[in-house]
Amino acid sequence: MHIVDGALSSPVLISGAVLSAIGVFIGLKKMDYDHLPLVGVLASVFFIASYIHLPLGFSSVHLIMNGLLGIILGWVAFPALLVALLLQVIFFGFGGLLVLGVNTLNIALPAVLIYYLCYKGVRNDSPKIAAIWGAVGGAGAIFITALMVAFALALSGESFVLAAKAVLPAHIPIMVIEGFVSYAAVYLIHTVKPEFISKGSN
């Protein structure tokens, strides 16, 4: 869910940018130079996620997968998503330049929250249980993202409140889909390469 330039009020833009900057700072601190290839490659996988369009009735939605990214990367999700979103703004016009901070916060903060929420769960020995936590993470991240988008809109003025109220129901189908997709992805990783989830984070 990208918000465009010009819609949000300055206080919201500024606080979004500041909070994102803090997140990115923490993420960069936690990321060694040795991890750069891993994070760079994973960031591109999540860039690719955004062009996997799944049909939904007559329309279609694209994957976001910030929950899974958070589970794998933790705080490093902030810099990874900032870079991905920046490239999407500049080369594809998704979102806007000044709202980059808000957009990054809206997608990366849920990822980090999910990391703490599901950290134990996805590292469970049973693939099934781990996958259920993965599903919770996938759906939960979208839920928090939608909530934050709604907040950013509502805080920007009376006139956006209705739009803000519409955001949450509009995201329910995406939540369901991401839940199922994350379930399968975590299940696969767990059976095929369990050391990845336990090792690939810091």
């Binding site: 299940y187 696969l188 059976t191 095929v192 390469k193």
Partner: protein
């Protein structure tokens, strides 16, 4: 050999070019008849894989006509129907295996065709057994050896009971033992086949007809050999 006179797959005047590159295929004509096992040779980068992908509609031709089982295929829907009857084995087994376990991967096709889970499992186990891969059901695909991966991908195509098999360098990455095994399996299969292979002895033992893809068009291998011998 007496072929039934209707071709299973027919290609007329097929052209293809990748963006920012010269043309790869240039007026290719080809027909596959019942019972044939056609081997296509060709240098690296000649466009063999591209040709196979065009046949099943994974890429769209710039010009030319593809018909499968009597129907001209143009839309994605028509090609989807063709793909059910013409199973394609990819050059790199890793691209084809995306499920965690062997059984799930083999079941993927039947589930797409609308079979129930129970039916899909039964079909898959039957196919695996017929290829001598029983006991592999719960093995993890990513950890199989190259030869095993190849056999599983073959199973996952055969389980859909295609009338035509299209194999892209099936002996790639196989050692001699696995190759011999694959050869005997393929020889025993009744389906018509299009096979890409660099392996001379393999193709000679399998082929009923050999073609070479050269400079964008398909020519008889013997013809090219003769010209080489003359030159």
């Amino acid at each position: 050999m007496a072929y039934s006179n209707k071709p299973l797959i027919k290609i007329e005047d097929l052209n293809y070019a990748y963006p920012r590159r010269g043309s790869v295929l240039n007026a290719v004509n080809f027909a596959l008849y019942e019972g044939e096992k056609v081997v296509i040779n060709g240098d690296n980068g000649a466009g063999k894989t591209t040709l196979l992908h065009l046949i099943v509609g994974l890429k769209k031709a710039k010009k030319g006509k593809i018909s499968g089982f009597g129907e001209v295929c143009e839309t994605e829907k028509e090609f989807n129907r063709l793909r059910v009857k013409a199973g394609l084995l990819f050059q790199d087994p890793d691209d084809q295996l995306f499920c965690p376990t062997v059984l799930e991967d083999v079941m993927f096709g039947p589930l797409n065709l609308g079979f129930t889970k129970q039916q899909a499992i039964e079909k898959s186990i039957r196919t695996l057994t017929s290829l001598g891969m029983q006991g592999f059901e719960s093995r993890i695909t990513h950890q199989l050896s190259g030869g095993e991966k190849r056999m599983i991908t073959l199973a996952s195509v055969l389980v859909m009971e295609p009338q035509v098999l299209i194999l892209d360098e099936p002996t790639n990455a196989l050692d001699e033992k696995a190759k011999a095994r694959l050869l005997s399996v393929l020889k025993a299969l009744p389906q018509a086949m299009i096979i890409i292979s660099h392996d001379k002895s393999f193709s000679e033992q399998l082929a009923t007809r050999q073609l070479t893809l050269k400079e964008g068009s398909l020519v008889d291998t013997e013809a090219t050999n003769q010209t080489i011998a003359v030159a």
